[in-house]
Symmetry: C2
Subunit: 376 residues, 2 copies
């Protein structure tokens, strides 16, 4: 099968780019002497998880109950559900434990810790539990100086079915970075916050085996891993224009793209339309904050994936992507029916619209198809 | 089954609201004496298509090849693929024709009309074809005064496997409306543009059986249907906060919501987190343009669906929705584990994240489950 045989829009994955991204992050974790437990929320794909965990402990992180169950079925034995837990979700994790996986939970609230302890006991399910620390993103987690960290630690240490697993943070403030220096600063925010929280726990005699920061830009640019046990980047397997915009990668490191067909020309308005719109790409505009010319994606040649001038998606509706340029568009080179590939603004969001990846190796031949798990 | 038994996030559909929305639009089309060919891009669901077409011709409109094939399998016999066609897509429509459906295409370019004519002949597949007119949205379509309308009409009339089906437009400029008057003006833009284009065709002896405007806000507020043969609203079956924001509906007419669980409290920042984030709701912020307090969705009681004060989603990340309010949040009423329902900003985008609707009838009992078709 070739790209020309795929119905558009379709999700394409360049295997050589993927494996280079994975190799670079793996080497980075090893250079710091720490574990890599990659966040699979981006790819949601067992084949990619096997590549990304190779040479490390085999642990990985996920963002939904469905991912926990999927990766357990796929044979992964150390799964961290890295989104705040609610007690009502524990029963649905049972099948993953039955499959032999250790499923580590995350929470940031003493009352929740007590409710999870009670529920785990009632279900007779055992979970290690991480405490979430806020290192500056202000989305979830406790500030590192919060007395509730110790309160939770004691609940976990005392609970029959829970064990303290350590501390976790996500320094996502780097998503607004102005470049590598800001990413490095966010990584240092993460490190200081969780190392401080870990010291509080250990000082009180509560075990803290994992000290786990997150976020791809931080992992790419961190200067020190002192006190950390692991990293948890996710986006790095694919990267995207948002990561380009904040200095976390180069455009040629973007591994996924959306294959699309030109379906409209308007020479008078210097505008084209492709069949990849808001559902095919997502409305994530995060790349535009630091890189306005990112639009909703960059147009590339369907075969070589070389960028087509400054062609970009200026606006999206459900199934229409409107192509713009500061120069006259190449209407003759891209007739209606021509195919292009679009580098996405935010790969985690774009990939979620598709059931599978079509793999290529630099050319137009589709060499494999890897399925994803979507939904909850 | 009850709402409490569903894993969150989950998509909930209030059947009584849906049927009232459908009845009102059906009555509106009948009051104008024209057909209703509803756009199924919003619901992508055969059960809803059967309700929405009841009492009319049975025709409907769709936005993807996958929808064409799905609705043909489900027994629909008059399907308009209301997004610009590319010749390479015709072969994939063959199974819908084999199933007995008439599939009407859309295009706005003479070269494409010739290429589609050639390809349809080569495949021995027959299609009626609509000409797309730009009535002010400037996304796709020819201006009503364009000489290319007649050029396309002649290509269609002369082609062995194509027939002229009329003219279609989408006056989506109403999506930025400041209220009903602007919606009414967009409807009049649509009407004048396609009636003028139709007169050009008919004046040249080319049949123009369909004169088809689109867009829910326009259908809701149109003052005149003179010269029109049908309407093509889609969003009206569900509505959403975007439609509220432009005066196209009231909040109580919103038929879908996302069931979510509270997974985080931060009293110091007056912030909660729910497990419905950017994937569960989409990052569509269209409602915020005219209604900044829409956020990414309004929080409602899980059972009654009554609005919870001014609680709204202020920001989203992949699996986190951050709840904000101008007043102190009701932490005690919404402990971690509590469930809420979220009215979406843009229902077409939100629903696309789910494989199915869970139906309720005003209470917490799930009375049915209807599947959607997603993807391309």
């Amino acid at each position: 099968m070739r790209l020309a045989d795929l119905r558009t829009p379709a999700l394409v994955l360049d295997r050589a780019v993927l494996t280079a991204n994975i190799a670079a992050m793996s080497a980075r974790a090893k250079s710091f002497g720490i574990d890599l437990k990659p966040h699979m929320k981006t790819s949601k794909c067992a084949e990619i998880a096997r590549l990304a965990t190779d040479g490390h402990s085999g642990g990985l992180c996920v963002s939904t109950v469905e991912e926990v169950r999927y990766f357990a079925r796929e044979g992964f034995r150390d799964i961290t559900y890295a989104v705040g837990i609610a007690p009502g979700k524990l029963a649905d994790l049972g099948p993953a434990l039955d499959a032999g996986a250790r499923v580590t939970l995350l929470l940031d609230d003493p009352a929740t810790a007590r409710a999870v302890a009670a529920r785990a006991g009632a279900l007779d399910l055992r979970f290690p539990v991480l405490i979430e620390i806020d290192s500056g993103m202000h989305r979830a987690g406790l500030p590192p100086e919060s007395p509730e960290i110790l309160e939770i630690g004691r609940v976990l240490a005392d609970a029959s079915h829970l064990t303290p697993a350590g501390v976790l943070t996500h320094g996502g403030q780097s998503y607004g970075a102005r470049g590598p220096e800001d990413c490095r600063a966010a990584a240092e925010d993460e490190r200081r916050a969780i190392v401080a929280a870990a010291e509080t726990l250990v000082g009180a005699g509560i075990p803290c085996p994992r000290i786990a920061p997150g976020a791809t830009p931080n992992a790419v640019h961190m200067a020190s891993a002192e006190g950390l046990t692991e990293i948890r980047p996710g986006n790095y397997v694919f990267y995207d224009l948002h990561m380009v915009s904040i200095g976390a990668c180069r455009p040629e490191q973007i591994a996924i793209s959306v294959l699309a067909t030109v379906i409209g020309h308007n020479r008078a308005r210097n505008q084209m339309v492709i069949d990849a719109g808001a559902l095919a790409l997502s409305l994530d505009a995060s790349a535009q904050h630091r890189l306005p010319e990112a639009g909703y994606g960059w147009l590339c040649d369907a075969a070589s994936r070389g960028r087509l001038g400054d062609l970009r998606l200026g606006r999206l509706s459900q199934e229409h992507g409107v192509v713009t340029s500061d120069r006259p568009l190449p209407f003759d080179d891209l007739p209606i029916g021509a195919r292009v590939r679009v580098l996405p603004s935010h790969s985690c969001m774009t990939a979620a619209a598709y059931p599978a990846y079509h793999l290529v190796e630099g050319g137009e031949t589709v060499v494999d198809r890897w399925e994803r798990t979507n939904g909850w």
